[in-house]
């Protein structure tokens, strides 16, 4: 399963990267030719008004993963708006239900998350184009619950068959759990046609705090993904398709 995710993300990354590269090469040729023409009208050059685009769409990777894995359901809505010249306000809203087998515990995590923050574009566009290679930050919060389905107690001695515990006081659902974390994002957004954009982003997550379920742990947090025992870092990605509404101001 993990391998499929990795391949999916690599393939999607390569596609989008090659798209941006192609544009850069074309741009070089173009600027050389237009240089002379530009010089003549230089004194008349006015500040270009950029459209204040609002983009919204969904993360494609989650429905794809849901198709491949019957124990997963996920949906993420994404949106961004250009605030200043290269600064975008961004938001992600998602929901996840995931059942997984950890080493000795089978558990289900379900819940929603909200991420909001900004993206800063570092890519110089052609006139009128709106592609982006950006760095960003998000403040994130999840509202989730954890359910232990079954587990195998840790035993050093195996004289008796190891029993898998399927009922008892620990087989339960615990709700009203929360987690807060920060995300550092690197990503790209590319215009495919008309007002449709595709984007890929890679996220490094840093957990700030989380409410722990009683006698269990947040082994998985919606939006944050896997939480490890050793440190507070996590990782994630998304692969978005968005529609842009140009708003001229």
């Amino acid at each position: 399963m993990k391998k499929v995710h990795i391949w999916l993300s690599i393939i999607s990354l390569i596609f989008t990267v090659s798209w941006v590269n192609a544009q850069e090469v074309a741009e070089e040729n173009n600027t050389r030719e237009t240089l002379k023409a530009e010089e003549v009208i230089d004194s008349l050059q006015k500040r270009e008004k950029k459209p204040y685009t609002i983009r919204f769409g969904i993360d494609l990777s989650k429905p794809i993963m849901a198709q491949l894995n019957k124990d997963f359901f996920g949906l993420e809505l994404v949106g961004d708006i250009r605030l200043f010249s290269e600064l975008y306000g961004a938001i992600e809203l998602g929901n996840e239900i995931k059942t997984q087998q950890s080493e000795r515990i089978n558990f289900t995590t379900s819940g929603s998350y909200l991420k909001f923050g900004f993206d800063y574009n570092m890519y110089k566009n052609w006139k009128g184009m709106n592609n982006a290679i950006y760095l960003g930050m998000r403040l994130c919060n999840s509202f989730h619950k954890q359910e232990v389905n079954e587990y195998e107690p840790y035993q050093l001695d195996h004289y008796w068959n190891t029993e898998i515990i399927k009922q008892g006081p620990e087989i339960r659902e615990q709700d009203a759990l929360q987690a807060r974390w920060l995300e550092i994002i690197a990503g790209i957004k590319v215009k495919m046609f008309n007002n449709i954009y595709m984007g890929f982003s890679f996220r490094l997550n840093r957990l700030m705090n989380d409410t722990l379920p009683d006698n269990f742990d947040n082994l998985h947090i919606p939006g944050f993904n896997k939480k490890t025992d050793e440190n507070v870092w996590g990782a994630g990605f998304n692969y978005t398709i968005t529609y842009a509404i140009p708003v001229m101001l």
Partner: protein, 160 residues
């Protein structure tokens, strides 16, 4: 941030390892029950058993053939009792055999991702039944600790 360095960052993070998935050796797991063998005529002193055959009820394999004055035996998870046949081999042709049933409840404590939960057994009331047919060798059984949370000291004393 060029696209090339983005890919590099991505690949680096893909292949980072985690030691998360291995339950480290030395992590205290579910504790076994430690039995101390004592002299019924002189309750203060230990008395060794020799060639004690220990078989779990319904098990084909023997747990061990044991000589000494204390032994750790595993209890049965997810069951309300654990029963062992304790057979003492003697010089005479008749075997001295006792069937010891230990009654227990358990609660499970979360350790970490890789080890999961560990069980802690608590003696039930009554904490044992001696279901012996014929002649036995056990004279008395005493509970030393209520909770089997660790293996640091004995939980049960058998007088013989």
């Amino acid at each position: 941030m060029t696209p090339r360095s983005l890919i590099l960052l991505f690949v680096l993070l893909l292949f980072s390892c985690e030691k998360d998935d291995i339950c480290l050796e030395g992590t205290p797991g579910t504790a076994r029950m430690i039995i101390l063998f004592k002299d019924h005529q002189n309750p203060q002193s230990k008395k060794q058993v020799s060639d004690l055959l220990i078989v779990g009820l319904g098990q084909l394999d023997t747990l061990t053939t044991f000589s000494g004055d204390s032994i750790a035996i595993p209890l049965r998870n997810n069951f309300e009792f654990t029963q062992y046949e304790l057979t003492l081999s003697t010089a005479s042709p008749t075997f001295l055999s006792d069937s010891l049933r230990v009654n227990h409840t358990q609660f499970d404590t979360y350790l970490n991702r890789s080890c999961g939960y560990k069980s802690t057994f608590v003696f039930d009331n009554p904490f044992y039944y001696l279901q012996t047919q014929g002649e036995g060798w056990i004279k008395n059984i005493e509970k030393l600790r209520d909770t089997l949370s660790d293996e640091k000291s004995s939980h049960l004393a058998i007088y013989h």
